[in-house]
Symmetry: C2
Subunit: 143 residues, 2 copies
């Protein structure tokens, strides 16, 4: 079956919670979806997982800082195969907050290991605690 023929079929399947969480653990770059300046925004960030929560660093005073203080956000990861028009994505919805201080030292220590790609002037540590996670996959090849 060619990729073109395959596209005429429905090939969207659900990725279960456990696999979605494994993909989140294994991936390193995702996109935060939030609201800033009264409209939606989407920003890519490099992240890690600490105690089941998404953690990343951002610049104090920047859009991501302002959009992630104690509010509900979305966080998405994906992978696309342009040759076969296949891919997968996982999205979580959870509460983001800015953390540091006693009691969250594990998060801070992990965040210190999480070097921001854009440089070290990213002093705000954002944590997204979530329960809601969903994933989906497009595949055109036979099992």
């Amino acid at each position: 079956m060619t990729a073109c023929e395959a596209r005429s079929l429905e090939h969207l399947e659900v990725i279960g919670r456990e696999e979605s969480l494994r993909l989140l653990e294994a991936h390193g770059v995702g996109r935060l979806g939030a609201n800033a300046h009264c409209h939606p925004v989407v920003y890519p960030v490099n992240y890690t997982i600490v105690d089941g929560a998404i953690v990343f660093r951002t610049r104090k005073g920047g859009d991501l800082d302002q959009a992630t203080g104690n509010t509900i956000v979305a966080f998405e990861i994906d992978s696309a195969d342009f040759t076969y028009h296949e891919g997968w994505s996982v999205m979580v919805v959870g509460r983001s907050s800015h953390v540091c201080g006693t009691g969250v030292l594990d998060v801070c220590e992990a965040a210190q290991r999480l070097l921001p790609w854009a440089g070290h002037e990213r002093s705000v540590i954002v944590r997204i605690e979530f329960d809601e996670v969903s994933g989906r996959r497009i595949s055109h090849r036979a099992d």
Copy 2:
């Protein structure tokens, strides 16, 4: 300079409007940021550009359908290099609407060419008209 040393520097630069628009024209998969069910959502879609607007197809009655009817949304594309911890992203903010009928035949015809990766049952054509576009790049290598 190793990638590790380079990360200690600030390497975030702005991508200008013209280059951002060229990247949008050349790319094929992006992420829509919107609000659904009273919280932010981020969904990947394959898209094309028609008369300067982003166009993609989605399933009638789905989350993307409900989140894109005559409202302000964000649309983001990016590329990440995990070896060098480099990458770029472009985000637009604009008004999304559902289109079809006389007067927008060019959009519909382009959308017919835009085969949904997930299958053909994507009858809603979404167009995002935008003026606001911003891009940024992280690069650690010398010019």
